[in-house]
């Protein structure tokens, strides 16, 4: 599909397919169109031309609420939580949404065992259970990030789109977070993960497939080993000049 902002072409004929069981990473330098791609994929923006389908259904511009109901959820690049709510409550919002209990205006949330259990389960997968009563705004930055992703997982989506899941996290903690994410995805039954990531160690360490974007086009779409061998892609994305033979 294509996406134009006025005269500026942010996405110029990008085609992408994600199948169940895949972990796909989208990489590319700044300005390559990754954010636009995410916004189009997650129903925030309709494409100017072309179509987006999820499980056979056209999802162009349907908006995040309906998309989440269909099973495609997204986490944000900048930490996005509910600052005044406790960690437990943040996840409970997702559980309440999943169980369609938002309409219950007279029932006690505190006494809803099913919601609480569903939320605690997720918190435990993300190693946040001991901080369940902490107001979200008081958590450490890395924990806030985990909480953001955890609440997205609590929707039990089929496909989850992670926008830079390890950004703002120290290098030492990045692998830890990825391990938690992958394990949680298995436990929750998420069928496919798409992430936008800058950290190449993470990308090459976890992906089944890598899609490299540059200036609104797909430069390469292949397994990590193939990408690594493709010097042009590496140069474009990582910024290293191709190694000169013989030196």
């Amino acid at each position: 599909m294509r996406k134009l902002y006025g005269d500026f072409c942010a996405l110029n004929g990008v085609s992408l397919a994600v199948r169940a069981g895949e972990f796909v990473s989208i990489i590319g330098p700044n300005g390559a169109g990754k954010t636009t791609l995410i916004n189009v994929l997650t129903g925030h923006l309709p494409p100017t031309a072309g179509s987006i389908r999820f499980n056979g259904r056209d999802i162009a511009g349907i908006g995040p609420v309906r998309l989440a109901r269909l099973g495609l959820a997204r986490s944000f690049q900048l930490v996005s939580i509910f600052p005044a709510l406790t960690a437990l409550e943040v996840v409970e919002v997702a559980v309440v949404s999943r169980l369609r209990r938002g309409r219950r205006w007279f029932a006690s949330l505190a006494r809803d065992r099913e919601v609480e259990r569903g939320a605690v389960e997720i918190l435990e997968l993300f190693r946040l259970a001991d901080r369940r009563a902490t107001p979200a705004r008081n958590l450490a930055q890395g924990d806030k990030k985990l909480l953001d992703v955890a609440s997205t997982f609590a929707l039990h989506p089929e496909l989850i789109l992670l926008d830079e899941p390890t950004s703002g996290v120290s290098t030492r903690d990045k692998t830890g977070i990825m391990e938690i994410l992958v394990a949680a995805a298995k436990r929750v039954g998420i069928k496919a993960i798409v992430q936008v990531e800058h950290d190449m160690d993470i990308v090459f360490g976890y992906s089944d497939r890598i899609v490299a974007l540059q200036e609104g086009r797909v430069l390469a779409d292949a397994a990590p080993a193939v990408i690594r061998a493709d010097e042009a892609v590496v140069a474009a994305v990582v910024g290293r000049p191709p190694a000169v033979r013989g030196d």
Binding site: G63, P83, V90, L109, A110
Partner: protein, 323 residues
Amino acid sequence: MRQRLVLGLVIALALLYPLVASPYYATHMLRFFAYAIVVLGLNLLFGYTGLLSFGHSLFLAVGAYTAAVLTSQLGIRSMEVVLLAAALASAAVAVPVGALCVRYVRIYFAMLTLAFAMLFYSFLLKFYHLTGGDEGMRVVRPALLFVDFDGVPKTTFLSHHYYYYSAAVLLVLAVVMWRVVGSPFGLCLRAIRDNPEKAAALAVSVTRYRWAAFVVSAVYAGIGGALLAPTTGQVDPGLAYWTHSGNLVFMTLLGGFTHFVGPVVGAFVFIHLQDQVMSLLPYWRLVFGAILAAVVIFVPGGLMSLCSIRPRALRGRAPRTAA
């Protein structure tokens, strides 16, 4: 536990009050009961959902005029019917008005709600054949629980019979509101207040929930208005004027919008303070303006933030509007 003791004490004091206080002060409490209901509703929208309405005087006036029309024009004097009719009328107005207003946020929402209140004010003023214009409309003494108290002198009726009735209505509605804010619905509202984009990403229909909160808060304002009407026996267009909405916001801020009872405390202080200051100075509005400025600058959390009492729900989770 301590919180329940305090609550019990307050209720006991309120019940004993008419027996010890002069009828003048007991009648004052009637205004407090009515306004407490209104601001409880307003704070559902503000403290819990993050939308500040400057138009709640609209629904208060709808409720008050419903009471006037029913009792003095249609001869329906059952207070229960009046309250129900006020609730339905407010909801009927809130559904379309809310549908429009919740599409906007912050200052635009506030201005839209203010505009609707002023629209109603103009309507009340202009259509004097229907509404009595600036002379307003009479409110006939209602029957409480289907009992006619016409034989009772006015001050006794207001300071005893109507006092306990109003207190009971406030108590019931406060319990209902407590349940609402502690419900899954209440949780979604707070999420929307904190981060509407994130809430949407978690499949919470932001506009629809805001709309629901708007209608509920409008119903509360309407019931409060209907309860207020018999205390003066008269309703006038001034009830809908936007500065009346301003008073409601003042009460909410004064008491503290981050606590469930904050607005109720604010209403109590405001009404009694207004009475005291008005009797001392002609420039009471100046004093109140200064108080408001002081609250915003020095005690933005309101009077409740000065207390160390932290409300806790069952199982130790705080049902406050904000941590």
